[in-house]
Each structure stands twice: as C-alpha cells, then as structure tokens.
Symmetry: C2
Subunit: 422 residues, 2 copies
C-alpha cells in the first residue's frame, strides 16, 4: 500500500468514528469559566453596591467607575485618566469607535469619514475576521499588509499611510496576534508611534486582546504604545482596546478603550448621546475579584494551567508526526493568545477544512483570517484549541495530522499527474 | 404687606434654610433599588448559569436568551419572536437603531439616511431631552408637533409625514409620556398604524419606557401598536423600545427592542457585526427573579407604594396652595410614569428654575423638554419627584409653590407697570 492509500485508510477510520470536535472559535472552556465562579456571588447585599461613594445600581458615570478603571490600568500599564471602561464587548467598543468616526469624524477631522468618497483600512494578514467584518459592514476598502515575525511589514505600512490619504485606519492585534501569535517588536511599536500619515484623521486600532494571556514562563513583552506615542506627540492616533472576555466570562466581562486624554474626553462626551452608562455593578464585581495586578495574574496562571496542555497536545502531535517536514507546511508555537496558525501549500486550506469537517472535526473556515474571507493563496488555517476538553484535543490533533498529510499527498500526486500530462 | 412682599419674605425664609433638594432627573430612589436586592445574589453557583441549555457565561446568542425574551413578552404583550433583548440601556438601543439607519438604512431604504441631503424627525413636545439629543448628535432636523390629551396632534402628523419625504422618523413615549404623563388613545394608536408616509423608510420610535409603571388602581391602557400595525400591514414601520431600568436597577437592567419579525431578523444580522452579544448572565438574573408576569407586577406594586406618596405630596401641596387657580398655570395628575408636567405663563419657566435653584431646589432646566433645549414659550417645567426622600419632596413642593406664586406675581406686576408706562 502506497503512502496515499495508507493515509486514506487512516482517514476513513477516523471518519467511521463519528467524531464531533469543534476547534472553530477562540472560546474558553467550561473549566476556565468554572474557576471564575466567585465572580457570580461577590455582590449579594445592597451595601456591597457602593464603590468610592457611587451607588453602582443607579444611573450615572459614563466612563466607568474608578475601581474598574484601575483593573485596566493594571492590565495595560496605562494611567486611569486614559481609560474608559465599557460594557461586556470590546468588539462593540471598536464598532462604536468606527461608527462614530464614520458619522462625526475623530479629533482633528475636517469631516466625518462617511463624507469621503472612499476610505480604506490597512489589514495585516492573516488577521481577525471580526475586524475585517466591521470594515465590510461600513463599506471600508481593505488593503492587505503581510505579517512578519516582528509585526506588520512596517516598510509597507509607512509607505502606504504616508502617501494615500484615503487610508484612515489599521487593525492591529499587537500581542499574541490572532491568529499568528506574533508580538510586535519594540522597533515595530516605535515605528507605529512615529508614523506620519497623510490623512490627518488616520487612527490605529490597537486591539490588545491578549495583553496578559501568556502560555509560558518567558512571555512576550509588548511596549506600551501610548507612552511611546507620547514621545512622538502622536498619542491621539491610537485607540487601544482590551477586555476581560478571556479573563472572567466571555459573555459577561468588561471591555475598555484607552487613548490620549484628549480622545478620552471626546469619546466620553459622545457617549452621553449614546447611553445612560455601562453596567457599573458588573464593573464593581470585577473590581472586588481583582483588587490588584497580583490577583489578576494569579487568575491568569490558572487559565494557563488549563490551556497550555491543549496547545502542547496539538504541537506535540504535529512534531511527532513530522508535520513541519512536509513540503510547504509550517505552524506557529505561540507564547500566548488563543491560536495556532497553520500554513499549508497554496490551494490546500479549503480542502483541509473540508476533509476535517467530513471526519467530524470543525475548523475555522479557510479564508476567515483574510479580508472578505478570501485567502489569495488558500493556505492559512486558524486552529483554536482552547474550548474542547484535552482528550478531544488529542484526538483532534491526530485527525488534523492525518488530514494535513492527506491534502499534501493529494497535492503532490496532482502535481505529478499535471506534470505527466503537460 | 402686599402679596408680592409677603411672597418675597416667604421665599427669603426658604433661601436661608440652606436646602439642597434635587428634582432634576427621573431617577429611582435608594429605597426602590433596595427592594431589588435579591437580584444581586440570584446567580451564585456555576450550575445557576445554564438556561435552556445555554451556558450564559460564554460567547454566543445575539438576540437574547429565551428566558429574558419572555420577560419582555410579558411586559409588552408581544410574542418573543418579535423581541431582541439587549444590554442595560434602551437609550443605547435607540441610538444604535438611528445610527444603523444613518449608516445603512432600514428595510426598504434605497440608501442610508446619511446619504440624503437633509432628514427630519417629528418631535412631539414637550418630550424627552435624550431623544432630541440623539437627533442633534446626528444632525437630524427636528420638527415640533404639539401634544394633545390623546397623544401627538395626529392631523398634523398625518399631514407632515404624508407630504414631506425628508421626514424619516418620530419620537413617541406612548404611555405616561415624558413629561406630560399622557397615554396615547386607542384612536391615536390606530392612526399611527394607518400612517401613509411619503418616505418609504419612515420609522416610528415607540419608546414604551413606562409600560407597566402605574401609579393608580385605574391605570391607563395602551393598545399594542405591533398587533394593530399588523392589521394595516405597517408593522415594519415600528421600532418599540422598553427596559427594566425603572423596574430592577437603572444602571444594570435589561433593555429590549420589539418590531416586525422582518426587522428583528435584519437587526440581529447587523448586530453580528457590532457585538459578541449582550450580557446573558444579567439576562438570566432577571429571568430568575421575574419568572412570570405576576412576579413583575407584584414588584411594580412595591415601586408604586414608594413613589405614589411622592407624587401625592407634590399634587396635594399644589392643590392646598391653589396653584391651578393662578392665571396661566396648570399641571398634570399622571396615572403613571415618572413626571409631573407644569405649565406656567409664557416667559416664566427659566425664571422659576432660577428662583428654585437659588433657594436650593434643583429642577430640570427650563427648555429641556424641547428640541435644542428651546421652549418657544418658556413655559414648561418637568418635575421629577421620585429620587428624594418623601420628607424632602414635601419641603420641595412648598418651595416650588412659593416660587410659582412669586414668578406669577412678578409677571403680573411687570404687566401692570408695562401698562402704566404705555
């Protein structure tokens, strides 16, 4: 039996097992949610609801209670004056920030973004599908920028934003990037701070979603963009976002936006039209559970203990099966975040997702990591190992290896046949 | 001592008391928040977080958990299919609904509202300042429509929306309107359902904020706009909003939007770009506390027991002092809601607010109940008696009566002097 036949046999065996495995989204597991149980009951009496003299049950306070600002000050290393604490979704804060820019511009705009004929965003790829979806919703043209091991290709970023004033923004996940796991180098961060955009209302959407989501004892280090930007006088250019979605509860966490004090004042003023304020009781719940940075980091260590073995299970299986030695195949070994990024030979990603799906393993759609869901090389796959139980991950990794080998083998054979015919 | 001198003496006595009374906003009192204490601890264990098989802690579910939709189905008398449960702010849902219409139109639009040169909203007056502020933020022209005891002047509404296609919306508080306390009559509701707007993308923003906020045993009855609109095939024209802000906690309640199934589907699709979903744990907390309509209505009876004496204290003082007998002065005796609306002779409202403020009684700014904060007659004042303790309200009502009499007296004297000079 040749290699292809052998792989097909193995694949059919997995298929016959009736598996139902889901690695589609960067979703915390049940065990990760369980370790946050204490958050549920931390406010139980009416007296518990007062914080710094504020009755968190009633109306009032647009920009977040001081105790909640402190949590994000701890996470991001940024003073509380530069922080607004919002509701349960940093995606919503990002969407709102783009929506406000579309409808009324940003500080220094001569008109709202929507009044320009065409506007564009730079989109480092592979990247986060929800970022790209926001651009798609608002009709913002997306320009792909390749990722390097240090972050986005800054030569290209500098060139493009320096000469094209239709470019109003760029999406960044600067730490443990989704899906590559890359953390922007000190030089990359500095080059961002030093950007000289042609559009005066250009903004960097700095989605620091995985700021403290380390998986090793030697975590990556990301420099604080706001303090470096302050050196260059470019602080207004940055909107930084983060959340506790993968710290406390994904559906009931806290989200925050950080920026220059000027931007924060402007946003707070605009929020007064939008809402009566965010949920201060939930802000206070988090503040009680996370009184200081040590409390947060201790909690993150518990997450790591649950997640790390899942990442290891995938990577160890890949290594055991020599996946990296296959022609054109590579994968990331991230120090943090929620994803492993897998690159295949051109034209293999969709086929892999189909093969895996037929064998009962749901993967993120091929193309999801690119604007408009179109991967020009059809080669990148985002692997999300956090949600299923460890035993399932071990099985999933085996299925995945089999599918990778099969798709590479199919491709090689097609290549040979193609050569034969030509 | 003449009447004016007597009033001035009384006024100076109040002034010397160093009062600090606040009747500015429709804010529940501490006692009202205290009766909701049970909500805080109703979810305390991880097992509590599952509802209809949904783990409310994790990602997922855009339109609200079924158990929370049922609450609003009970409140509004509308099937759950026509309801989306959102976050903690119905104002935010209204803002978002206008923002989406501005950026991408509504079902049936040929283009987004923002792509029209000029668009307008009808604003029944006096009305709610936060509605008008949303129009102001988006640069939407506001056209005032007078309120009658049956609701907005429907002859005028029909005429205007029938002939002017720049009119894209109207703000309505159909039950216990802010600030007049008026509930739209059956005929008014039916005429809304039967509207034939020139603009195909005209929408009614039906802010049913006080749906079950009764103050008497003979509450007003508001017909269900969605079922009547269904008779006329105009269901898509209505966005209904409500919240538990004045049922549970103002800062940490639930808000909902109700509309035709077609609109609800469209909104849910658009929400997928905007957010990862609303806080399902808080939705579940409310569902546990309010398992059926009886539980909600029992709770509202407790609110009424706290609020009604405050309304009575103001109205009884007004009656005792013969306020209604003063030339050009009238006030409402609402069956529900959060406000008493006071009308004074033209040109007296700002002066009254100033007099009251100088005596330590903060009232809502004169003009706040009109678009752009401009009351053309300077005559309407919104009185919000819910927040201060009952004893304070009794004092406030006395101060208010003194100020009303003083301002009317000043005006009469100015009239006489004016006559004398001429």
């Amino acid at each position: 039996m040749n290699n292809h036949a052998q792989l097909l046999k193995e694949y059919e065996e997995y298929k016959s097992m009736g598996l139902k495995l889901d690695m589609t989204r960067g979703k915390p597991s049940k065990e990760q949610l369980d370790i946050m149980e204490e958050l549920l009951g931390v406010l139980s009496k009416k007296e518990d609801c007062i914080s710094d003299g504020i009755d968190c049950r009633n109306y009032g306070i647009l920009d977040g209670i001081p105790a909640a600002k402190r949590i994000f000050s701890d996470i991001l290393g940024i003073p509380t004056e530069k922080i607004i604490v919002g509701g349960n979704s940093s995606l919503n804060l990002m969407y709102d920030t783009v929506a406000r820019a579309m409808l009324s511009g940003v500080a220094g705009s001569d008109k709202p973004w929507s009044k320009h004929g065409k506007i564009s965003f730079l989109c480092p790829v592979p990247g986060y599908d929800r970022h790209f979806a926001i651009c798609q919703y608002f009709g913002i043209h997306m320009i792909k920028v390749p990722m390097t091991p240090e972050g986005p290709d800054m030569d290209l970023v500098e060139k493009l934003v320096g000469e094209d004033d239709t470019i109003k923004g760029i999406w960044c996940v600067p730490k443990y990037a989704n899906p590559t796991g890359i953390t922007y180098s000190a030089e990359t961060v500095r080059r961002f701070a030093a950007l000289k955009p042609k559009a005066k209302d250009f903004r960097v959407f700095w989605d620091n979603a995985y700021a403290i989501h380390d998986l090793t004892d030697t975590p990556d280090r990301l420099d604080d963009i706001l303090s470096i930007a302050a050196e260059y006088g470019s602080e207004d250019m940055f909107f930084e976002f983060t959340s506790t979605s993968k710290i406390s509860f994904p559906g009931s966490g806290l989200a925050a936006i950080a920026s220059s004090e000027k931007n924060i004042k402007r946003i707070t003023k605009e929020l007064a039209y939008q809402t009566i304020g965010f949920d201060k009781l939930n802000q206070l719940r988090h503040a009680k559970l996370f009184p200081d940075k040590a409390a947060i980091m201790n909690h993150m260590a518990r997450h790591r203990a649950l997640i790390k073995p899942k990442f290891d299970a995938v990577i160890e299986e890949f290594d055991r099966q020599g996946i990296e030695e296959l022609q054109g195949v590579s994968f990331t070994r991230p120090n943090g975040g929620y994803f492993i990024s897998l690159d295949l030979p051109d034209g293999c990603a969709k086929r892999l997702v189909k093969l895996a799906s037929d064998a009962g393993l749901a993967l993120t759609s091929a193309g999801a990591t690119f604007p408009y869901g179109m991967d020009p090389h059809d080669s990148n796959i985002r692997i999300a190992p956090t949600f299923p139980p460890l035993e399932d991950i071990k099985t999933a990794a085996k299925v995945l290896c089999c599918c990778i080998k099969l798709v590479v083998c199919e491709r090689e054979e097609a290549g040979k046949q193609g050569n034969g015919i030509l």
